[in-house]
């Protein structure tokens, strides 16, 4: 399998001198195209910090992150923003949909940021909204949708620019168990392809069985654990 994300000896600390606290300490791992990778761990274990560093949002203090062979932290700020825009899709924990835009316009946002013509962006966004089964809700504002529907809108927005890497932060945190599983089934069935790597940060054990691999973080360090091992715990 081709390596999608390559993290090597990544460190992140806050404060200096005696006050220095490590959020992530010497983490190295690979994620592959066609893989659904979970990053799990208790609160404060550093998984969100790690996720931010591998997605080009938070600069590591030490170490290297390569995505599809590109050392992302060597890119200038604008190029890095462009890289995120074209290569990485995000689904935030609280969705962060725009309540003043329609559902369709929300999905089209990444394409609009890519300076695609408005009508083309909306037409393309409508196709992805159909993929997540919400084509009939296109003209509604997100606040009129249920939590599960909003999650699917956020997924459609993350997918619309055809990213190779999809990052989902606690995708089931605000969903009930059945809806959470439905969403993960959908991601596994419809979104995961051989050309895409999906990384999910979660501590919702109800959805662990959808992962290809699960890596666990604790106190800023990372250890890889096979899914079967975790299930057995």
């Amino acid at each position: 399998m081709k390596v999608a994300i390559e993290a090597r000896d990544v460190h992140k600390w806050f404060g200096e001198g005696d006050a220095r606290t490590y959020a992530v300490k010497g983490v190295s791992f690979d994620a592959y195209f066609g893989e659904l990778l979970y990053v799990v761990g208790p609160s404060g274990s550093g998984k969100t910090t790690m996720l931010s560093m591998i997605s080009g949002i938070l600069r590591p203090d030490q170490g290297q992150v390569r995505i599809d062979g590109t050392d992302i932290w060597s890119l200038p700020d604008d190029d890095l923003a462009d890289f995120r825009l074209h290569k990485i899709g995000f689904v935030f924990q609280d969705f962060h949909l725009f309540p003043r835009l329609t559902t369709l316009e929300n999905v089209a946002v990444p394409l609009i940021l890519q300076e695609r013509p408005w009508d083309d962006a909306l037409a393309e966004a409508r196709r992805d909204l159909d993929v997540v089964g919400l084509g009939h809700r296109a003209d509604l504002p997100p606040v009129k949708l249920s939590g599960g529907e909003q999650q699917r809108v956020a997924i459609a927005r993350a997918l619309v620019s055809r990213p190779e890497i999809l990052i989902l932060d606690e995708p089931t945190a605000s969903l009930d168990g059945d809806t959470g599983r439905t969403i993960l089934e959908f991601i596994r069935r419809e979104i995961l392809t051989e050309q895409r790597c999906i990384v999910i940060v979660t501590h919702d054990s109800r959805i662990f069985d959808f992962a290809d691999r699960i890596v666990q973080m604790e106190d800023g360090r990372l250890k890889s654990i096979e899914r079967e091992t975790l299930d057995a715990q």
Partner: protein
């Protein structure tokens, strides 16, 4: 319109409560700023109404004169002296004074009386009714149909009145470019009749009206008049002198400036605070955009567009509201002195740009410092 600006537009106008508050703030500020400056412009324009209406190129006067309404009579020899200046095409005297009229219904009404040179009637107004030569007829006066005309009882040709026990007859109705500042109607007659009807001091000419042979002669005329101890001003200079008097020697200008500054501060406070709150409430959304891949300049443009759009809309509404207010006021108060000039609009526009700039500055600073990582952290 680029898509990012369209998003910015929708984020702004679809938040109706905030958008409404921003519009109200800026509209109100623009309305106050333009109203204040328009009132001042109106006062200034009316204060020099006589100069504009008479229209002479050069006015000769006593150096102590500050406004056209407070003339100091000139000795007769000044007229002869001015006429002898080589560059002068002609020079005529002008009488400008006040009188108390007894109208046909027995009421008294103060009026300005302008006495025009008997030979040339130079400075005469355009008549809408009657013939100008009738002013030479016995007791002939021309009434000016301006906003004060009704105070004469809306006279028609042939209407009579008394002036110091002299009979006066309206022989013509005239229109002028500008009404006066002091709320009294204006009558025109001949110079000699004005002197005959109204008690005068030893000297009788209020001003000398001069036409140069060519614009190049103006400087020499002014210099020669100065040599004999008097002052010659072009029409524009005289208007500027009158304006400066009202601006700097009456307190009107200072008061208007203070009111305009207060309007600006109110507008800045309301709009700045509301816009900043708008940005703060949307800060996570801007952070999300940044995480997705929006560049700093995209976000700055979005904020500048939002601030600019709401400011220009508020500016348009404020101008419209002010024009409507002035129009309505004039329906009920014909004397209402307010004029929206190009300068008023430019001044208000500049102030609105400052409001927009200041409002967006704090928003931009906030948005540029938001870390997308904070969006992940929640």
């Amino acid at each position: 319109m680029p898509g990012t600006l369209r998003i910015a537009y929708k984020l702004l106008v679809n938040d109706r409560a905030k958008y409404g508050a921003l519009l109200v703030g800026i509209t109100f500020a623009v309305f106050l700023m333009i109203e204040m400056t328009s009132l001042f412009s109106g006062v200034l324009a009316r204060s020099s109404a006589t100069v504009r209406n008479i229209g002479a190129s050069i006015w000769v006067m006593d150096p102590a004169v500050q406004t056209v309404a407070n003339s100091i009579p000139l000795p007769d020899y000044v007229l002869d002296e001015v006429r002898s200046i080589p560059g002068v095409a002609f020079a005529v005297p002008l009488y400008s004074g006040s009188a108390l009229l007894k109208l046909s219904d027995g009421t008294y009404q103060a009026a300005n009386v302008m006495g025009l040179d008997d030979t040339s009637l130079f400075g005469r107004p355009a008549l809408t009714e009657g013939k100008i030569e009738d002013v030479f007829a016995e007791n002939g006066f021309i009434a000016v149909k301006d906003s004060e005309f009704y105070k004469l009882g809306n006279p028609r040709i042939g209407a009579e009145f008394e002036l110091n026990d002299n009979r006066g007859v309206i022989v013509g109705i005239a229109k002028v470019a500008s009404s006066g500042l002091f709320g009294v109607p204006t009558l025109y007659t001949t110079y000699s009749r004005a002197l005959q009807y109204i008690p005068s001091l030893r000297f009788t000419s209020s001003y000398l009206l001069v036409e140069p042979k060519s614009p190049a002669d103006i400087a020499a005329i002014k210099a020669r008049v100065k040599e004999i101890g008097y002052l010659a001003l072009t029409k524009d200079e005289f208007i500027a002198q009158i304006s400066n008097f009202y601006k700097f020697h009456t307190g009107i200008g200072t008061n208007m400036l203070i009111m305009t500054a207060i309007s600006f501060i109110i507008g800045l406070s309301i709009s700045g605070q509301t816009f900043y709150t708008f940005i703060i409430e949307n800060i996570e959304k801007f952070g999300a955009l940044k995480a997705i891949g929006a560049k700093g300049r995209d976000l700055v443009l979005m904020i500048l567009f939002q601030a600019g759009f709401v400011s220009l809309t508020g500016f348009g509404l404020g101008v419209g509201l002010c024009a409507l207010a002035i129009w309505t006021a004039r329906l009920y108060l014909p004397d209402y002195a307010a004029i929206i000039t190009g300068l008023n609009l430019v001044l208000a526009f500049l102030m609105v740009l400052i409001i927009a700039g200041a409002s967006s500055y704090f928003g931009v600073r906030k948005v540029l410092t938001i870390e997308p990582f904070d969006i992940f952290r929640g």
